[in-house]
Symmetry: C2
Amino acid sequence: MPRPSVREQLVDAAMECFHERGFNGTGIQDIARTAGAPKGSVYNHFDSKQSLAAEVMDRYAVSRRLEMLRDETLAPVPRLRAHFQYLAADLERASFERGCIFGNFGAEISNQSDMMRGKVESALDLWTAAVAQVLDEAREAGALTTGLASEQLGLFLVNAWEGAVLRAKVARDRAPLDAFFDVFDSLVA
Amino acid sequence: MPRPSVREQLVDAAMECFHERGFNGTGIQDIARTAGAPKGSVYNHFDSKQSLAAEVMDRYAVSRRLEMLRDETLAPVPRLRAHFQYLAADLERASFERGCIFGNFGAEISNQSDMMRGKVESALDLWTAAVAQVLDEAREAGALTTGLASEQLGLFLVNAWEGAVLRAKVARDRAPLDAFFDVFDSLVA
């Protein structure tokens, strides 16, 4: 495997710091120290902490694997469930302490940076549309009994997931995710 | 009406600042300026920004009006719905920009302050238990068709609400709350 570039190491370090301490709680010095790089190297690669945060969000979005939602080797409902289970396993590896970077940034800095609020909004909208699309497929296949519109249900499920993830972070416990799956199985069937 | 004490003015100002800029984004100087008080007055009344934040959470908890959930003049399901509608109206007055202080603090500083994480956890647990209690009453009255346990459904609903509130903050729009009520009506009936 090729050695990661300094730029990549800085993005990884920033992701770790932002997850741990939030945006305002993280200094450029913290990021440099975590990356084992001199502080000046951050400004060699990024204009500002915000532009580094933007790149962190781009990399985080890729790690959410939205492509799982288009995997037609699985029927729509099990496919949607597998996607949330993938996300749950990722949270479990970090003992539920991390939460979702979109939720974390959305809660912390929506009123301070329109760029970051807009990026969080777009990422969640893209995800919601992909979930609604799977729900549409489920409905066409006769696998959905609810009369709720896919768009409404998709919006609800993404938000309910974000709320469950936040609660799991606060409680350091998977019970909120288990409750999500229980209701998911009752709603989406 | 008696003039609010300096202490009360500081708590009100801190609530406003924390909603707007989060915990780490708010300085003692910001709070003093918002309250129109000298910076030293903050330390005359509070040991630290954290102890001020703890008092903000206590005051915020009172404003959530959990007693609405025990109002037996309403049947359990309409009572639970009225409670969430009260919370929605409160968010609407702030153009959906504020979010919930428990969700905001939980997302931002769960990993930085065990005192604050613990306070957020307790507040959400208390609220969840009150919601589960209403669901139990609804079930006893034969007004609940779901087979889900009240504890699981209560935990899910509180988290789904927090997620919807966070999304409304990011989107500056009430659509996430509307989706919550749509699914609420389908689940809790």
